[in-house]
């Protein structure tokens, strides 16, 4: 196991700069998740760590070694692909042991490691099957097993769960969390799914436009986003953004077309709905309500011209076209014109 360091990584494809000066230090045994919208460079960064892509400039260090110019197999990494990349003509055992065999590992050690991985991933009964005879979740476990037997310093995962259906996804997610605990390994995980990021990560790296927007624990990112992008990206449903000005009682929402001095970010759970005759709050009209069982969301069109989504108890019932007032039960986040948190 080892720490992973990225120093000033830049990647250009022709004139396009897809990664701009990436600096990141990942601790030994840490589970770090890269999230961001598609095209933000998170997969490219992972592939640079793996050595499948060459950085235009910068340095990758694993443990104490500079691995920037080493072949993928010499970096002490193992990677799990989104497509699993299992060899269709080899059995599960063949898939898991191919790398070891090529490295001329003694047979008894191969057997031992395959058995260890198979036990950990509940693959023991499937060892002689071909990938085509396995379900999606089983294939995914084989791909993980193939990574485990290499005993790498760093595990890399490239959207490993996106080919699985929702139910399976959450169970494999738990398996991954358990695996991380058991192996105590350094893991880097790329996803666009913020639920995966929030649940798995020790630290999340939010990326956009080839730049790291913020690095922090899931709680830090949610409760203390440093910019508008992170605030909007983390949290579901999304944070509401409305233009605002300073009024006598704190922030006041500015009407559409009116001058505003900053943008106010309000999470749906930081708002609440009251009847129209309530003395405080912004008047508006309910556009629609979504009942999700444990919670409900209502979209309200404010008289000032903006729409905000409000989370409320499923027992509160608000009808479409009903006039209401929206009150703030917590201070919002303020962002300046460049999206920076004030």
């Amino acid at each position: 196991m080892a720490q992973l360091q990225l120093n000033n990584i830049v990647k250009r494809f022709g004139p396009v700069e897809v990664l701009k000066q990436i600096n990141l230090h990942i601790q030994d045994g840490e589970f770090v998740v890269f999230v961001g919208p598609s095209g933000c460079g998170k997969s490219t960064l992972l592939r640079i760590i793996a050595g499948l892509e060459t950085q235009t400039s910068g340095e990758v260090r694993i443990g104490e070694r500079d691995v920037s110019d080493l072949a993928p197999s010499d970096r002490g990494i193992a990677m799990v692909f989104q497509s699993y990349a299992l060899y269709p003509h080899l059995s599960v055992r063949g898939n898991i042991s191919l790398g070891l065999k090529q490295a001329k590992t003694p047979q008894n050690i191969i057997d031992e490691r395959v058995e260890y991985a198979a036990n950990m991933l509940a693959l023991t009964d499937l060892l002689e099957r071909k990938p085509a005879e396995l379900s999606g979740g089983q294939r995914q476990r084989v791909a993980i097993g193939r990574a485990i037997v290499r005993e790498p310093d760093v595990f890399l995962f490239d959207e490993p769960l996106s080919n699985l259906d929702a139910a399976l996804r959450s169970s494999v997610r738990h398996d991954l969390a358990k695996l991380h605990k058991n192996l105590n390994a350094t893991m880097v995980y790329v996803t666009h799914d913020q639920v995966e990021a929030m649940t798995l990560a020790d630290r999340i790296v939010v990326m956009a436009g080839g730049v790291i927007q913020q690095v922090g624990s899931p709680r830090e990112l949610y409760e203390d986003p440093q910019n508008r992008f992170v605030a909007g990206f983390i949290g579901s449903p999304k944070m509401n953004f409305v233009p605002a000005i300073d009024g006598p009682n704190g922030s006041e929402i500015a009407a559409e077309g009116e001058a505003s001095s900053y943008e106010l970010g309000l999470r749906p759970e930081h708002l609440s709905l009251r009847d129209a005759d309530h003395p405080e709050g912004e008047p508006g009209v309910v556009q629609f309500s979504e009942y999700l069982g444990s919670e409900s969301f209502s979209l309200v069109a404010l008289d000032k011209g903006h729409q905000v989504l409000v989370r409320h108890s499923p027992h509160e019932i608000w009808n479409i076209d009903q006039p209401v007032k929206v009150i703030q039960i917590r201070d919002g986040y303020r962002f300046d014109r460049d999206g920076k948190r004030i």
Partner: protein, 282 residues
């Protein structure tokens, strides 16, 4: 779904289909049938103009035996084998390697090189007849099996590379990257990962090239003149004497010459199982 199952069409359509398919098949096979009918006539029928009518006499066994008695059909047959099998092996193995390089490695010349392979297929080989024969004579390869193999291999490899390159390109690239991460050397990736996955393509290509080369008449005539090296396609000609044409014997020999490619097709049929990569990636 396409094509639509015939059962879901109207009954008139089905009827027309059932009548037209055998008719089309008959027209399609008519030349073959004509050759077969010729091969069992006596020579007199052809000389008297009874080309397409009912044979005056059935001389099936006799004609076919005469082929072996009066020509070196067995030698020709083995010459064909000696030319075809090495050609298939050389072209297909070269094509696998070139196709792998062209599809897996990103280097500057990959695309121009690939286009050269494609463009080579557009050159009509007839215009190469004189230079190739000249080259063969100069290099002492004229009228040798080695010469035929080398020239055939040279002409077939272009098409084969195009074929294999596209097949290997269609493999999921993750498989190769995954093997690289596991430390499998490039040569072993080719051998243990790529080749097993393109086996159906190799089988199909081998049959195709086998047929091309076996059926070749042009180069066989241009590059050989002796009985000892002539493949069967060129050898059959010698059944026609200097002054008489014996089409019944030529027909019989032609049909026999066609057996190996046909047999090859049926023998390799089971290797054409597509979708071997199914289950590799979802």
């Amino acid at each position: 779904m396409f094509p639509r199952p015939i059962q879901s069409r109207s009954s008139n359509y089905q009827l027309a289909y059932k009548i037209l398919v055998p008719v089309a098949l008959f027209i399609w096979l008519l030349p073959l049938l004509a050759i077969f009918m010729t091969s069992l006539r006596p020579a007199a029928d052809i000389n008297t103009g009874n080309m397409f009518g009912w044979p005056s006499e059935f001389k099936l066994v006799e004609n076919y035996l005469t082929v072996f008695r009066e020509s070196q059909a067995v030698t020709y047959f083995f010459n064909s084998i000696k030319v075809t099998i090495p050609t298939v092996m050389i072209s297909v193995s070269l094509a696998c390697m070139a196709g792998y390089a062209l599809s897996i490695y990103r280097f500057r010349a990959a695309l121009p090189l690939f286009f050269m392979f494609v463009a080579g297929n557009f050159v009509p080989f007839q215009i190469l007849m004189v230079p190739v024969r000249d080259l063969a004579v100069q290099t002492n390869l004229y009228n040798t099996v080695t010469g035929l193999v080398l020239f055939h291999a040279a002409f077939q490899t272009g098409f084969c590379t195009l074929f294999m390159r596209n097949f290997i390109k269609a493999l999921p690239f993750d498989l190769i990257e995954s093997a690289r991460i596991e430390g499998v050397s490039e040569y072993k990736i080719f051998w243990y990962v790529v080749l097993p996955l393109v086996r159906p393509a190799i089988a199909a290509l081998s049959v195709l090239v086998f047929t091309f080369v076996w059926n070749d008449f042009f180069w066989a005539t241009v590059l050989t003149n002796g009985e000892a090296t002539k493949p069967i396609t060129a050898g059959i000609q010698s059944l026609n004497g200097q002054f008489v044409s014996r089409w019944h014997l030529v027909s019989a020999a032609s049909l026999m010459a066609a057996i190996p490619p046909v047999a090859m097709f049926f023998a390799m049929q089971k290797h054409f199982i597509a979708g071997l990569t199914l289950g590799a990636v979802k």
